[in-house]
Point group: C2
Chain length 197, copies 2
DNA sequence: CCTAAACCTTTTACTAGTAAAATACCTGCT
DNA sequence: AGCAGGTATTTTACTAGTAAAAGGTTTAGG
């Protein structure tokens, strides 16, 4: 990913901090986080504006950017980008071979992007392709032993890193946040993701 | 945002759906969102693993990806990418000229990326540069009238779009989520963003 | 004064994504 | 059978980011 790129100045694409409002780094005052500072600036410029969405969406984006930056460390140490790890992880957790199309749907990426990643991962011996004998348009992708071992080695490191990143919140706060995000996600997936098949 | 590119197949950067675990699109069962389905798959493969971090981080990433996709619509309609709008918005909300370095810090992007965006935006007549007379390394960037008008026109559309995206949650849920995310963000910014100056 | 170090911005070379076209194949209809 | 249309994957042309180096300028020390 670009997404995996470090920023830290963080990444682009990845993820910019601000929602509609962009983002702020310096000089955040009384209330605390950078998003609150951005909202305050907008309020000063356009007092009538309803900035409520920024307080959720801006924060989600900013959290995603910061976490990604942090999470990249263990992955990069293993020589993987996040999208590459997503491919391997998808194969590992489903437990069976998948077609490139299925991987694309599972990881929410384009088919072309998956093709490129599979090429890379294949060259490194982490996955293999086998053509379908029935339908020769289709290929089946599966993890090699090396690929499976890599996932099983990296995943605990990754989760440990994530636990550390979240450790500023107590267990109750974490459970509450997970539940609230789950509620939002159900809404968004129904609304934006389409009444999926 | 890279984190914030549209995907939706969405984009990179932006943001993949899964945290450590990658992401799932199809076949989500009882509990509801795609992240819950991914977590269930991992539990089946590695029953001892503590997947709690995925339930927060995976959901943040997935929400960011979905929202981005949705939010890109009004911006694209105005011929802007999100990072470009972030630059314009930063100039608008601070209310005065900024140097490229300051813009980079405000938008959490690299200096090189800002240089490219400023070039684009300058060619479209939305911003202008003026060299500093004291320190000739420095340039000052400010919005043109056209740039300011564009921001003032797009921002309400953007916020309106965001409000719609969030409308599945009632006001209390939105306030609670904003507060919980703010708490997390304060922690992350202190921990990962550095004890900023 | 003059040089070394630090700084701000831009340039260069490269990477990884996207959209759309191309390729190859299957399915169903007549 | 043969062809129209749809599907799965890859390829092509391009875009926008990154890291690192370069260019030009100021600041501090001797």
């Amino acid at each position: 990913m670009t997404a995996v790129n470090g920023r830290a100045s963080t990444t682009a694409s990845g993820a910019d901090a601000g929602s509609a409002g962009g983002s702020a780094a310096a000089g955040y005052g009384p209330a605390g986080d950078t998003v609150a500072a951005v909202v305050r600036q907008w309020q000063a410029v356009h007092p009538r504006i309803d900035t409520a969405p920024m307080e959720i969406i801006g924060r989600i984006n900013r959290c995603a950017a910061l976490l990604q930056q942090a999470e990249d460390a263990p992955l990069r140490h293993a020589g993987l980008t996040r999208p590459e790890f997503d491919v391997l992880g998808t194969l590992r957790r489903t437990g069976h071979a998948l077609t490139p199309g299925e991987i694309a749907r599972e990881t929410f990426s384009s088919g072309a992007a998956v093709t490129k990643r599979l090429k890379q991962l294949g060259e490194r011996g982490l996955i293999e392709r086998h053509g379908d004998t029935r339908d020769r348009r289709v290929t089946h992708v599966h993890l090699t032993d090396a690929g499976r071992d890599l996932v099983d080695r990296v995943l605990p490191e990754q989760l440990s890193y994530e636990r550390t990143a979240l450790s500023g919140l107590d267990d109750d706060a974490q459970r509450g946040l997970a539940a609230a995000l789950g509620e939002l996600l159900v809404q968004l997936e129904g609304r934006l993701g389409g009444p999926r098949g």
